[in-house]
C-alpha cells in the first residue's frame, strides 16, 4: 500500500496489526513491530514525502514472521552508519527512529542511494 499523507499512517498500522494477529504474534512483539513500522513510516513521510510499503508474511522453519518493506524515492541517506547512530538526526527529532526501529525487530536491512531513494526492510518473527 502507499503512504503519502499522515492520515494514511493509522490505517497502515492497523493493516500491520491484522497480519500480525493472523500469524499469532504475541502482544509485546506486535507492539514492537508496529512501533518500528511507525518510526519508519514517519521517516518516509518526513524526508521523502511518502512512498510504498509492502506487508508480507514470511516463514522460516516453523516460525512465521512479518516482513515490511518501505520504499521511497526521496533524497536518500548519504551516510547510513551515521544515520543508524543513536541521537543523530538531520531533522529536529530525537534521532531514535532508525536505531530504535532496528532494536525492536529481528532483521533490519537498509539500502539507500543519494538522489534515488531509500529502501528499508524489517522482519519480526512471531516468536522472536
Amino acid at each position: 500500500m502507499s503512504v503519502d499523507r499522515e492520515q494514511d499512517v493509522v490505517p497502515f498500522r492497523n493493516r500491520v496489526k491484522e497480519q500480525a494477529v493472523k500469524i499469532r504474534m504475541g502482544l509485546v512483539n506486535q507492539t514492537k513491530l508496529i512501533t518500528a513500522a511507525s518510526e519508519l513510516v514517519r521517516n518516509m513521510l518526513r524526508y521523502a514525502n511518502g512512498g510504498k510499503v509492502f506487508i508480507e508474511v514470511v516463514s522460516k522453519g516453523r516460525d512465521n514472521g512479518i516482513r515490511l518493506s518501505f520504499k521511497d524515492e526521496g533524497p536518500g541517506i548519504p551516510d547510513i552508519t551515521l544515520a543508524m547512530k543513536d541521537g543523530f538526526s538531520t531533522g529536529k527529532s530525537l534521532g531514535l527512529g532508525l536505531p530504535g526501529a532496528k532494536r525492536l525487530v529481528n532483521e533490519f536491512n537498509i539500502k539507500s542511494e543519494v538522489g534515488i531513494g531509500t529502501e528499508v526492510t524489517i522482519i519480526k518473527w512471531a516468536n522472536g
Partner: protein, 138 residues
C-alpha cells in the same frame, strides 16, 4: 479535524487518549494542553494512556515535551496506565520519558499529583497542619 478533549477537574487537567494517535493529533494536544494550563492556572496534568497501544519516539517526545513545558508553568505531569507491552517497547527503543511522573492508574496518579502540590504548598507556608488530610488519602 479530530481533537483530544481536555477535562478540567479542580486544580488538575485530565486527558484520556482513547484513539490511536497520529502526529498531528499529538502536536495539537501538546499546544492545547499548554494553553489550557496557562489559562486555568492548573497545577497538574494527568494523561491516561491505558487505551493507547503504540507509543513511538515521536509521541514519546510529545509526552516528554508536555512534562517539561508544564513544569515551566508550575504544573506537574503524570502519565498513567501505560500498557506493559508499550513500556517494554519504549525501553527497547531507548526512550526514558524524562520529565514526567508515572502511575499505575488514574487513582494513583491523582494521589501522586495531590501529594506533589501538597508538598509545594507546605514549603510555601511552612505549616504542616494539613498533614491529616494527606494521610486520609493513603
Amino acid at each position: 479535524m479530530d481533537r483530544i478533549p481536555i477535562l478540567r477537574m479542580g486544580q488538575f487537567l485530565l486527558v484520556t487518549i482513547q484513539v490511536d494517535l497520529y502526529d498531528r493529533l499529538a502536536i495539537d494536544l501538546e499546544a492545547d494542553l499548554i494553553k489550557m494550563v496557562s489559562k486555568t492556572g492548573a497545577r497538574g496534568i494527568l494523561i491516561d494512556i491505558s487505551a493507547v497501544s503504540i507509543v513511538d519516539s515521536f509521541m514519546g517526545r510529545i509526552i516528554g515535551n508536555i512534562g517539561v513545558m508544564s513544569k515551566l508553568l508550575d504544573a506537574e505531569t503524570v502519565v498513567v496506565g501505560m500498557q506493559p507491552a508499550v513500556a517494554i517497547t519504549l525501553v527497547e527503543l531507548g526512550l526514558p520519558l524524562k520529565g514526567v511522573f508515572t502511575a499505575l492508574n488514574v487513582q494513583k496518579g491523582m494521589d501522586l499529583l495531590q501529594s506533589k502540590i501538597q508538598v509545594t504548598e507546605d514549603d510555601d507556608v511552612e505549616t504542616h497542619d494539613d498533614d491529616n488530610s494527606d494521610n486520609l488519602l493513603k
